[in-house]
């Protein structure tokens, strides 16, 4: 397989950089662990995005972080390809169990979206919310629930071969 990039060496000669390319089974294992990183990525920008005292630059920075999290989540849910994996490995990574898990997680995410919408409407009576807060609340609730559900379904089961 061709190298994925080039790195300048101390002697000034460009040589192919060696990156670890996880195989299909490693991707499947890491995917479930990675899921727990999303809540961290969501909570961090949440603290700054709607803080009135924050300067515009920091706001843009956290907005960019939030967008990155959403893109990552979409990439994961839509099963976009890893360039080093073969077609057979992609088929394995996105096999019917993976699709069933994603579908179930999305069902939970939609339920969370609807219930949090009701919760936010009720909260709005007590303290009026701005549009940004509502969007953030809805997206976060849906994403966190979906990711948590998917992590639960893909938790490590004892394998008979181990």
């Amino acid at each position: 397989m061709s190298p994925t990039g080039y790195k300048e060496q101390p002697n000034g000669v460009s040589q192919p950089a060696r990156f670890h390319r996880p195989n299909a089974e490693e991707v499947i294992e890491r995917r479930s662990g990675f899921a727990w990183m999303l809540p961290i990525g969501l909570v961090m920008p949440a603290m700054k995005l709607f803080d009135a005292d924050v300067d515009p630059f920091t706001r843009y920075l956290y907005f960019a972080l939030f967008v990155a999290v959403i893109i990552t989540a979409c990439w994961w849910l839509l099963a976009l390809p890893f360039r080093w994996l073969s077609e057979a490995d992609h088929q394995k990574v996105n096999d019917e169990w993976a699709q069933a898990m994603t579908g179930d997680a999305c069902k939970w995410a939609v339920a969370a979206f609807m219930t949090s919408a009701v919760g936010l409407m009720a909260f709005d009576i007590w303290r009026p919310l701005n549009t940004g807060e509502v969007i953030y609340g809805l997206v976060s609730a849906a994403l966190l629930t979906g990711v948590t559900r998917m992590s639960w379904l893909s938790r490590r089961e004892p394998l008979d071969d181990d």
């Binding site: 299909a24 089974e25 499947i28 057979a88 088929q91 394995k92 990574v93 096999d95 019917e96 169990w97 993976a98 069933a100 893909s154 089961e157 394998l159 008979d160 071969d161």
Partner: protein, 68 residues
């Protein structure tokens, strides 16, 4: 009455001396999928059931049956 899909996958696989990973590779799915099918967590599609039957040299109805 709750019905579930029982299977003889593990017995047949071990009989042939195959690991879950080897069977998964032969069917183009992940090891996790084989594990969840064996443990009755996941009901496979007709396509996968046929692939499993072919890989284990059994008829589909010998590998899977409905249990009340």
């Amino acid at each position: 009455m709750t019905e579930r899909l029982a299977n003889d996958l593990k017995e047949r696989r071990t009989e042939l001396g195959l690991t879950q990973g080897e069977l998964a590779g032969g069917c183009g799915v992940s090891r996790k999928t084989i594990n969840t099918v064996e443990n009755g967590i996941f009901v496979p599609s007709t396509l996968l059931a046929l692939k499993l039957a072919a890989a284990l040299d059994r008829r589909v109805e010998e590998l899977f049956w409905v249990e009340a």
